[in-house]
Symmetry: C2
């Protein structure tokens, strides 16, 4: 089984902190293996995502690349399949099986853009994939792409090394459980 | 078939514009019927979402309520099923069928919170539903909830009154098509 990297294009420190943070946490929670930010370097963002990983568990990787071009080229050399999520692409419902096969056999890079994505990204991608052809949210598109690639299995991921876990409750709200490790570390 | 309303809690004009806008556009693109904002009144946000509806088509409704309590109470009186999306809830994979039935028979209110959701919301909801028990994004949770309630059918929605449509392309990028109506109006 290949891995899934999410490449976040065009991050701007002032404007995009929350949206880029949502992209990264969605990637982690829904079974991607890493997020790579490009655009402006934002150590605060990298740190806040890393802290979530530290407390909530798992091996999700967080990094920054000064050049998305180089990053994509490198991943292509490794044989990974480059998927650009964009409303201009082919509907995901038509290519789900293809994405799953590419995930299994080669590993994926899922690219999510900011407002203006350079035309080069559309051209360098192996495939442009749309989650509807309507304007909405790269976070929503990423979530649905991951859910469909994993066929829902990502909803049952467990993090044995988590310091915090939730006790689910249909009615009302139960408290978070913090393991003793939380105090020790 | 009942309708789906999305209630966005605790909007703050300065901090939440983009995330609340993503919530609304995700609701529209993935087959909800309306979004209702609460928290701070933000005419700019209402207008920007309404403009998307005007250009991209459909009957999606956008409104503001000064009181989420009153809004929830009214929708309960109508018989609608109140679903609070929260990481503390029961996993969506366990209750999908129930949500679909409630959608068909009663209509749904999907509540998505901001950072601090009052305990009353957990208690007033008919059900608290989690899209993973991990911290991520209300936008992602909403997207997956809608996709599963509609069983993917929302990806094929057409908007006959759209002034703009996309010509999908697997490779490269094609231009948006604006219908002549766009110029006339």
């Amino acid at each position: 089984m290949g891995k899934i990297a999410v490449l976040r294009l065009g991050h701007r420190v002032k404007r995009d902190q929350r949206v880029s943070s949502h992209v990264a946490l969605t990637a982690r929670a829904l079974g991607a293996d890493e997020v790579v930010f490009s655009g402006e370097y934002d150590p605060g963002l990298l740190e806040s995502v890393s802290k979530v990983v530290e407390r909530w568990g798992g091996n999700f990787k967080v990094s920054y690349t000064p050049s998305w071009r180089t990053f994509i080229a490198e991943r292509k050399t490794r044989g990974e399949y480059i998927v650009h999520l964009t409303m201009y692409g082919i509907g995901i419902q038509e290519v789900e099986e293809e994405l799953r096969r590419a995930h299994e056999e080669r590993g994926l890079v899922l690219i999510v853009g900011s407002s203006k994505v350079p035309i080069e990204v559309y051209e360098e991608a192996d495939i442009n994939v749309a989650v509807t052809h309507q304007p909405h949210s790269e976070i929503a598109a990423l979530a649905i792409a991951l859910d469909r690639i994993h066929q829902g299995k990502e909803l049952n991921i467990n993090y044995p090394d988590a310091k915090i876990t939730i006790k689910p409750s249909r009615l009302g709200k139960l408290r978070k459980k913090e393991s003793p490790r939380e105090e020790i570390n």
